[in-house]
Amino acid sequence: MKQDQQRLIAQLSEDLVPVRPIPRLRFSLGIVLVLWAGLVSYVAYGGRGRAALGGALSDPLFAGVLTGLVLAALGGCIAALASGTPGRESLARRSLAASGAGVLGSLVLASAFALTGGSQGGDTVSAALMCVRNGMVLAALPAAALAFLMGRGWVARPMLAAALVSVGAASLGVLIVHVSCPLVDARHIALGHTSVPLVVLGLATVPLGLLLRRTAR
């Protein structure tokens, strides 16, 4: 068997062709964020932006959910990219924890506000569905970019990686919805904004996981 291993080493060395190393994780993250910034400016310059973001930031619900979604987005994207790079498991785990805290924190906060009378009622469901749909559409580009970058890496657990991509991209998408949506009703924010990462997680993980299984590793 030792001889087989020596032979394998000789053949692998013989087979060696130059390869370009995958980009640094922060560079990959930068690509995703630049694409996302493009989406933000498209929404902002398309006249769909919120008129006074500064004022909204003083609202604890708006600011709390915004913080949670930022954490979920950055944590999800970093965890996804780290999970496609051998040796970065520790970073992936820490980012996953941050992302999970962001998703759950924003959901719990919005639900708590809704349950304690922060909601004025009205046609919450159709408006929420509109925001969920917009969030999913805006998540498509970051998700595609993340999947492409991870396809160049070495994904050991495609389904977990797909779940991380789903949460990260959905949080990026819904962040744009959250800052551009004029509705401040707590029930609307809980249903239409903070639920998007979980909705995308449920819908996109399996197809994305199958795609990653084919492309990465």
Binding site: Q5, L8, I9, L12, S13, G84, P86, G87, E89, R152
Partner: protein
Amino acid sequence: MAAAQRGDTEAYHELLEEILPLVSRLVRAKLYDHPSADDVIQNALLSIHRARHTYRPERPFGPWMRTIVRHAVIDAFRDRKRRAAREVAVEAIEGLLDPDSGEEPALERNELSPALQAALSELPDKHRQAVELIHLRGFSVAEAAVRVGVSPGALKVRAHRGYRALRARLRGQES
């Protein structure tokens, strides 16, 4: 590894020689003296070869390598579990898939796409046989190696080369 990424075969050979005892230790720490341990060591080396582009020179090499070896061991455990489940079914239809039984091979019954069949037929015999046995007929490397009469390591390299050529040919047909 950074030199290997640039195509330095000598540095790569040296690196693989150097890490072989460590890879072996890591695998045997999980598999002890299981008969498949040597296969897993070779799979780990192949995985390191395939994943060499994911190593970033500014990062430490050890954790990168250990992750790949760990997953080679996990894959081996999964493979063993899958095979244990399949072996029951195989016993029930013993002889049905035996290429010497005179039955039409499963590979031909599977109706491969014409493009794949054409690309397969263009491969050198040795490579085609390895790809067919391992990737298309689902034999384990050890089983396929016994059938062909070569060592598992040699068969893996043939399959790897065949698979690479196949992919290049199919990509060429697409463009």
